[in-house]
Structures are given as C-alpha cells and as structure tokens.
C-alpha cells in the first residue's frame, strides 16, 4: 500500500487523538454505569481496594521517605543552614510535601504498581477471550470490571496521599535530625503554615489522579491485542500515558489552585 507523506505525518496524530477520545468515552461510560442501578460491583470493589493496598504500601513507604529526605529535605536544609534558618524547613515542607511531592510520588507509585497490575490482569483476560465470554453471557465488563477498579483506585490514591504525606514529612524530620537540629521549630513552622486548603487540594488532586490512572490502565488492558507481546506492550503504553497525563494534570491543577487561592502563598513566621 502506497502511503503519501501527508498520511505518514498525520496517521500517528490521528491515532493519538482517537485513543484520547476513546478514553474519554470510557470515562463517561464508567461514571454513568457507576451511578445507574443495579450495583453489582461491591465485592469486586473491596477486593480491588485490598489488592491495591497490599501491592503499594511498601514501595510507597520507601519512595516517599527517600523523596522527602532527598529533594525537599537535604537540598532545602542545605540552603537554609547557610542562613542559620533551618527552623523554616517545616514551612517549606508544607509547600513541598503537601502541595507537590506527596501527591505525585503517590500517583507515580500507584500508576507504576497498581495500574500496571490492572492492565496486566485485564489484558490477560482480553487475550484469553474471557472478556468476550463475559459479554456473551450478558455481563457488562464495564460495570463489573472497570467501575470497581475506577472507584477503588480513586479511593485508594486519595487515602494513600495522607500516608505519603506522613512519610514525606518523616523524610524532612530525618533531614532535620541529620543536621543536628531540634525538632520543635520544624513542627512549629510546619503547623503555622499548614492550611486546610492545601490539604483538601492535595486530596482532591490525588483522587483525580486515581481516576486518570484507572481509566488509562483499564482502557489499555481491555484493548490489548496481538498475542504474546500484546499484554506487555499494553502495560508499557499504559504506564507511559498515565505518567504523562498525571504530570500534565498536576501542572494545570497546581497552577489553578495557586492562582485562585493567593492566601496559600503567604508565609507565616
């Protein structure tokens, strides 16, 4: 088949747009199907929730402590020690951990660990034609497979944000202790700068991250094709798309939150 130059340029673009559109359709169908009775997905929801919890707690713990100690902890402490103002590290951790790092480390770990597992699971069912069998039996795969995963990932990512935040701040505590400083001033500046807006912003953000991860990973799993390499390929594409989507959404969300809540950027002494 002869392809013209125009085709070769626009075919990939069209593919990307088509895929984005299909993911949107899946999102809408998932939400509609979640709200409309009947609700047969309770048991699957609980098992998916426990599954994500079991898979993610340890990688998330290591990652957040490492990240909190490394980026905002050591580097910011380095800078503040020069001025003898290490007590301000706590205030910086509100910005660093609650607003930024806890949400996105949380999302990266959830996408990389739970998201990939979901894609591998659904992809395997697609390749073994189990999903087709379900449809033949009259069982709606969106209602019974996608909706519970969607809801479970949203809830689990939102809850894990608090967990990530606690261990991220623990990284900051470690950095303070490494610099032989007392912890009192750290907590004092931390709590005088922490605001509920920051916290709900963080939790809402991660809940939406969970929705993005679930839709991308379920879509890629349900459309896996092509024999042996298919499932691996699907996992690869799912995690790449999920990461890009998370970061792009994170940028937009943070910018909107900061611009619409100027009180967030006031530093309390």
């Amino acid at each position: 088949m002869a392809t013209t130059a125009v085709d070769r340029v626009f075919a990939p673009t069209r593919g990307v747009l088509q895929e984005a559109g299909e993911m949107m359709i899946l999102t809408v169908r998932t939400i509609v199907s979640a709200v409309k009775p009947p609700y047969p997905y309770g048991a699957e929801f609980v098992s998916q929730f426990m599954f994500a919890l079991r898979l993610c707690w340890f990688p998330l713990l290591v990652s957040t402590v490492a990240f909190g100690y490394e980026a905002p902890g050591l580097q910011a402490a380095n800078f503040l020690v020069l001025f003898g103002a290490l007590d301000r590290l706590g205030g910086f951790f509100v910005l660093a951990s609650i607003r930024e790092f806890a949400p996105f480390v949380d999302a990266i770990v959830l996408a990389g660990v739970a998201g990939t597992a979901i894609t591998a699971d659904l992809g395997a069912r697609r390749i073994r034609e189990e999903l087709d069998a379900l449809e033949v039996l009259g069982v709606d795969p969106i209602k019974n497979l996608v909706v519970p995963r969607f809801l479970a990932l949203m809830l689990v990512t939102g809850l894990f944000d608090i967990y990530a935040l606690l261990f991220g701040v623990f990284g900051g505590v470690l950095a303070t202790l490494v610099n032989h400083q007392p912890l009192g001033p750290f907590w004092a500046t931390f709590f005088s700068n922490a605001s509920t807006t920051d916290l709900w912003g963080s939790v809402v953000k991660t809940t939406l991250f969970g929705a993005i991860i679930a839709v991308v990973c379920c879509y890629k799993g349900m459309t896996a094709k092509g024999g042996a390499e298919g499932v691996g390929r699907a996992v690869n594409e799912a995690v790449v798309i999920a990461f890009l989507a998370i970061f792009a959404f994170n940028y937009v969300f943070t910018q909107v939150l900061l611009a619409t809540h100027p009180a967030l950027t006031d530093i309390v002494k």
């Binding site: 898979l55 990688p59 290591v62 990652s63 490492a66 990240f67 100690y69 490394e70 980026a71 050591l74 580097q75 380095n78 800078f79 020690v81 020069l82 001025f83 910086f92 910005l95 607003r99 930024e100 480390v105 990266i108 770990v109 990389g112 660990v113 990939t116 597992a117 894609t119 591998a120 699971d121 992809g123 395997a124 390749i127 073994r128 490494v178 896996a224 024999g227 042996a228 390499e229 298919g230 499932v231 691996g232 390929r233 699907a234 996992v235 690869n236 995690v239 790449v240 990461f243 890009l244 970061f247 792009a248 994170n250 940028y251 943070t254 910018q255 900061l258 950027t265 006031d266 530093i267």
Partner: protein, 265 residues
Amino acid sequence: MDDLFAVPRGWLESFGEIVKFCARILADVASLRVFKYFGEVLRQAGILIVSSTLVIWGLVFIIGLQCGIEGAYFDRSVGVPAYAGVFAAWCDLRELVPLCFGYMMAAKVGTGIVAEIGSMRISDEIDALEVMGISGVTFLCATRLLGSMLVLPFVYLCSIGAGFFASYLAVVQQIGDVSSGGYFLIFWQFQNPPDVLYSLIKAMAMAIVIVLVGCYYGYTATGGPVGVGTATAKSMVFNIVSVHVIGMLGTQLFWGANPRAPIGG
C-alpha cells in the same frame, strides 16, 4: 517461624538472582564480548533515540514548568521574587530532572525491554538463539545495555536543557515577577559544571539499573502471554523503588555534606 521469614527471604532471594544476572550482563560488556554484535548495539541505540527520547523530554519539560511555578510562588511569598532562579536551578538540575528521567526511563524503556525480551522468551526465540550458538544474554541484554550507555548521556543532557527551558518559560514568561536577565543571573550563579556532572552520574546510575532490571524480568518471564504482562508490571515496582533510592543516595553523596552554593564560607 518459617512463615515469618518466608516473605523477606523471598525478596532477598529474588534480589540476589537479579544481582547475579546483572553481573553476567556487565561482565559481557566489560570483557568486550558484546562488540561481536556491535551492529545490534547500534540498532538498539537507534531504536532508543527514535522511540523514547521525545517522551522523556516531554515529561521533563512538564516537571520544569512545575519547578518554575512552585519556585516563583515560594520566592514571592518570602519576599524575594527575584531569586526564583535559585529554586529552579536546584529543583531542576539536582533533583527532579534526574528523577523524572528515571520515571520515564522505567516506564518507557524498562517496561519496553521486558515486553520485548519476554515475548521472545515465551515464543522460544531465545532458545533458538542458544541452539544457533549465540548467547542470549550477550546478544539481547548486553547489546541493549551498551546501546543505552552510548546514547543516554546525551539524551539526559538534552533533557536538562528541556527542563531549564520550561522553568524559564514558567518563571519569566508566565508568572513574570522577575526579568529575564535577573532570572538568568541568579540561575547560572547557583550551579556549576560539577553539579551537571553529579546530576548526570545520578541519572546514569538510574538508567543502568533500569535497563538491567528490564533485561532480567524479560529474560526470566514464564507462563505465556499473561506471564509477560505480569513480569512487565513487576519490573515497574522494582524500578520505581530503585529510582527513588538511587536518587536519595546520590543526593546524600554529592550534596549531603556540601551545599555547593555561592553563599557564605
């Protein structure tokens, strides 16, 4: 008592397996045996350039924007908006560009290698190679490692550029609290060539671990098409944790005792 230690022992065992396998690949590269297949090395390097670089730069670009706005708002709040360059320089160069490079390497290159080699393993292509007298480890894994070592330093340096450009856009063009000249004055003052070298070392350590782990999980995949998917997912878990741990050790090693800032003594 046995049950209690079964899980940690399982982790240690698989960690030992991974280390043993990686040592074999590294030995193949170090003993120059891999140069028998130098054409394949170049082919793998080419595939890496064509398929992965743009995605990596894209992610780093977004995180550069992120560092920019956080820095601009933070420095505005402490009353020194002109110093947003400090935040951007340290956030980009030292921490987030290496980390995001690691994330995208793990997502795009790491899982890609698992999917590719894993499907070769379960369709018995690797056994076919061995029957023909070609070592699978050398031909498939060592070539990929050398190929990525040839290409990735340059990919990484360019992605630092993408991050810097994005931070500039966010701080100067978008928020606009500081002039372009003022921003760059501070921005370049707070970094120097050794910082770039340290950052490069950190990112390359991540990249090498990711490629090796990808090769391991692909090479040892079992259990049909489903097995490849599971192995791909498992490699991601290992890579996410190791990226963060390498990042932490690197920061502690390079900047832990010395902030390398042009302030004070």
